[in-house]
Amino acid sequence: MKQIVTLLCLAFFASVPIWLTDPYLLNALITTGIFIIGAMSLNLLLGFTGQLSLGHIAFFGIGAYVSALTSLGFDVPIYGDFHIVHVPWPPIAGFFLAIVISGFCGYLVGRLSFSVRGAYFVIVTISFAEVVRLVALNWVELTQGPLALTNIPSITIGLPGLGYLVLKTKFHNYYLVLAVAAISYFLISRLVHSHYGRAMRGLMENETLAVAVGIDVTKTLTLAAVISAGIAGAAGSLYAHYIRIIDPDVFAFISTVTMVIMVVSGGKGSLAGPVVGGVIFGLLPVFLRPIMPPEAQWITYGVVLIVILFVMPRGIVPSLAAKLGLARAGGTRRASVAVSERTAEEHA
């Protein structure tokens, strides 16, 4: 049942560029999609381990810069005549490198802060994002600082002998973002339904008990941080190659807040939550823009958020699921499956 709904949603999203040809709306959908990927990665930490990363945009921005620099190349003086020179690589290599390096940063931040956790994790992530922003702003030889990295090439896919496709148009980029989003969704879904996911949930609900049954806190949380940061890095890379110009403003705190809003309004700890919350809060400004002045837009944005959280404090998806009685259905199905498996074994 749940799978059918997921597939129908995917089919719907896939059909959008066919009937929606307005480039302005398509552009809004692409950037929203990129932020939804970021929100999904944040949800893995916030919703499934209970750790709030308020510097999540750092991993996104690192992904963007790594990917851009990999495909643009650079020549950075380190000391005296010693230079590090990097010749441009294909953008797709930048995409994968962005995932790896963002993931590694997630590992470092996780290792540093998960031994203390809670408020400390929030503070470490905020500081980390600020430090990275300052580096991007001031290491002008590498990042061009406030002058921005420009002319970032579009992602090219293809196989030798089969020809190449430069993903330059909005139509192409829409499907690229959709594909990465679908893969991320699938990956997170598999992860949280495995015993790794159960360990994360156990730690969030009752850490002492979780530890007592043999769950390794640091290892479990670090794993979540690495995967979360890696996915955020992938989103950042997509952003860099789609917008094709990035400056240190990608590290803006408000972007983290946007992701948190997407996750919390949609429902943290629910797989579909960030998607629903992301679609609403990603597209809301787009629809408000033509009908009201800028000040009123932000007030409306805030009012919508407050109303959602007031009416559905746990977020849209969990509240609706509870109303429709779907939340329990999953558990029942699993248990009955297990019972029937057991009887099958007894018969055998």
Binding site: L191, H195, L209, G214, R328
Partner: protein, 266 residues
């Protein structure tokens, strides 16, 4: 001579100037049911915390199956098969009973990350085996009817049972139960005593902390009495019941009536 599973050697725990445990020595043999009793604040839960790595003792050592537990983290101790339950927060409240037990199975059938994410055959088989095992444990503990209810919505007595099922899922060689029957009524307690014996018969050594004296007297092979952080008596229930030091420590000097009551219960 029975094989010693757990031995506590000259353990002391100080919190700043406060002495929670001054010098504790005792051991538990394989297949035994041993109770650790004492008035509130005697240091029973502190002792549990030391044995399971939640607290580092100020002095002394804890040996489990011949290995020194010094410096081991709680999850590493759990990996050795020494599993505990908790007095108050014994369950994962927002998950179903069935999922609670599944979480207890964490130690079993760990598969690689890539295998789990890609759903490779080994991961699928392991997951299937774990689910079957969880269903079996839920049935064994007698909570089949509540398998799909949130653990937090169960009665205290039932939550205790879930806590035990969770601990059993972790496949303990030795089980430490912290006040397992508090919040249970008489008949639930009676059933629980049977359950503890069943667990022991499965080859699990048991150490429990409990205030319910009749229960302790009926289930224990041996009792260790703790007061003000030191052991004041140790022996089989019959001896402990008559031990004047225990009666005094536990019930106060002028508690003749209560002493009689204990005798009646026993």
């Amino acid at each position: 001579m029975a094989e010693t599973v757990l031995s506590i050697e000259h353990v002391a725990v100080h919190f700043g100037g406060l002495v929670a445990i001054s010098d504790m020595n005792f051991h538990v043999d394989k297949g035994e049911i041993v109770s650790l009793i004492g008035p509130n604040g005697a240091g029973k839960t502190t002792a549990f915390n030391v044995m399971t790595g939640f607290l580092t003792p100020t002095k002394g050592a804890v040996n489990y199956c011949g290995a020194d537990l010094k410096g081991k983290k709680p999850h590493e101790i759990a990996d050795l098969g020494l599993i505990r339950t908790f007095q108050r927060t014994s369950v994962f409240p927002n998950d179903t009973v069935y999922d609670n037990v599944l979480m207890g199975l964490h130690r079993q059938g760990k598969v690689g990350l890539a295998e789990a994410i890609l759903g490779l055959p080994r991961a699928r088989a392991s997951e299937k085996a774990q689910r079957a095992r969880a269903a079996e444990l839920v049935r064994w503990i007698g909570l089949e009817a509540r398998a799909n209810d949130l653990a937090g919505s169960l009665s205290y007595g039932e939550q205790r049972l879930v806590g035990v099922a969770l601990a059993l899922a972790a496949q303990p060689k030795m089980l430490l139960l912290d006040e397992p029957v508090s919040g249970m009524n008489a008949s639930e307690t009676h059933t629980f005593v049977q359950l503890i014996r069943n667990i022991r018969d499965r080859g699990v050594t048991i150490l429990l902390v409990e205030h319910d004296m009749p229960m302790v007297m009926s289930v224990s092979d041996r009792i260790v009495v703790l007061n003000y952080g030191r052991i004041i008596a140790e022996g089989p229930p019959d001896e402990i019941r008559k031990n004047p030091a225990v009666i005094e420590a536990y019930l106060g000097q002028s508690a003749k009536d209560v002493v009689k009551e204990v005798a009646v219960h026993a």
